[in-house]
């Protein structure tokens, strides 16, 4: 387990999500694919946090508690991305329901017309 292997898994998950987002027809599966892409990105952030040192720890300055904790910046980043993704998922489903009510369809090709 090295930073390369973590990035490989992260990239694979991102690419699978990208494939799904382009090739699926139903809006719900497109949202699922987007969530997969979010997860791929977060894996990379946590992996960097685990395997590469924070710049503050290499600078040679006197050690501070903030510099030590900055080793976990990737984790904080992961939590913020998760929070944004959760809010985004809730809003996206509300939009899908609104569209379903208006057009009786959740196919992405039907969403190109905004008349309703």
């Amino acid at each position: 387990m090295t930073i390369e292997s973590v990035l490989l898994v992260s990239g694979a998950l991102f690419a699978i999500g990208a494939y799904g987002a382009v090739s699926r027809r139903s809006l719900i599966t497109v949202i699922m694919s987007l969530e997969l892409m979010f997860n791929g990105v977060v894996i990379a952030a946590v992996g960097f946090s685990r395997f590469t040192p924070a710049a503050e720890l290499l600078s040679g300055d006197p050690l501070t508690a903030e510099a030590i904790r900055s080793a976990l910046t990737g984790h904080v980043f992961a939590i913020f991305v998760t929070a944004v993704a959760a809010g985004e998922a809730a809003l996206a489903f509300a939009l899908v329901f609104a569209m379903y009510r208006a057009t009786e369809s959740v196919e992405i090709t039907d969403a190109s017309e905004m008349k309703n």
Binding site: M1, I3, E4, S5, G11, A12, L13, F14, A15, I16, G17, A18, Y19, G20, V22, S23, R24, S26, I28, T29, I31, M32, E35, L36, N39, V42, V46, R50, F51, T52, P53, L57, L63, T64, A65, E66, I68, R69, A71, H75, V76, A78, I79, F80, T82, A83, V84, A85, G87, A90, L91, F93, A94, V96, F97, A98, Y100, S105, V106, E107
Partner: protein
């Protein structure tokens, strides 16, 4: 000196097993015709990602992943699939499959090429022994205000304020909590605001619209119509 934060064989095995689970189930999510099965596979994939976080010694992120993704978002997906009956029977893949596959392979190739052709700095580059101990074993903050010094052991017979901490990778939850309320205070507050906005926006969008026959109420408070 021992290499810092050694990776054991068992950890590597669990890492690859969780990776296989995550990627395999993700492939099912994007190929399965039955949307409900895709939602179930998605929950499993999220769980695999959660295990990956635990393996990467990010326990708090792992717990958040399981709570938010496996617990909440998957249930939201399952509800959405059951609510909209049309798609439960199957969703056709679009004509853009070939384009999607080409794009995905190109993205993956670029990412993998970058990952293997970049010289990443390593944890072994940290030479300061106090920093190494602070990451893996623990550290002690001595003093108050701007005059805080870091030690590996608390000095005896000192009247200063002493705060003992575990190593940040051992007790990541505590360190993340401190970061959220100090360094990232503003971002933390803004995330709260964002979630409130998403909640209200979701409620507004989901609201049952009045039928067009009914006359609109005379007192409109504005901004509520979607």
């Amino acid at each position: 000196m021992m290499p810092m934060m050694e990776v054991s064989t068992l950890t590597t095995i669990v890492f690859w097993a969780a990776s296989a689970m995550t990627i395999g189930l993700a492939a099912i999510v994007v190929t399965q015709r039955d949307v409900f099965r895709a939602a179930i596979a998605l929950a499993g994939s999220f769980l695999g990602v959660g295990i990956l976080y635990f393996v990467l010694s990010a326990e708090f992120v792992g717990v958040v992943q399981i709570l938010v993704y496996v617990g909440a978002i998957s249930v939201l997906m399952a509800f959405a699939v059951m609510f909209i009956q049309d798609i439960a029977s199957g969703s056709r893949p679009a004509q853009g499959r070939l384009v999607g596959a080409v794009v995905a392979v190109l993205i993956f190739a670029a990412l993998a090429f970058t990952a293997y052709n970049t010289e990443w700095s390593s944890m072994d580059d940290i030479t300061d022994s106090i920093a190494i101990a602070a990451l893996t074993e623990g550290f002690v903050e001595v003093g108050t205000g701007d005059e805080i010094e870091i030690f590996t052991d608390a000095p005896l017979g000192d009247s200063d304020v002493v705060i003992e901490n575990d190593g940040v990778f051992v007790d990541s939850t505590g360190a993340i909590g401190v970061m959220l309320v100090r360094k990232y205070m503003l971002a933390f507050e803004i995330i709260g605001l964002l979630l409130i906005a998403a909640l209200i926006g979701g409620l507004l969008l989901m609201r049952e619209r009045k039928s067009t026959e009914e006359p609109e109420p005379a007192t409109k408070n504005g901004g509520a119509s979607v």
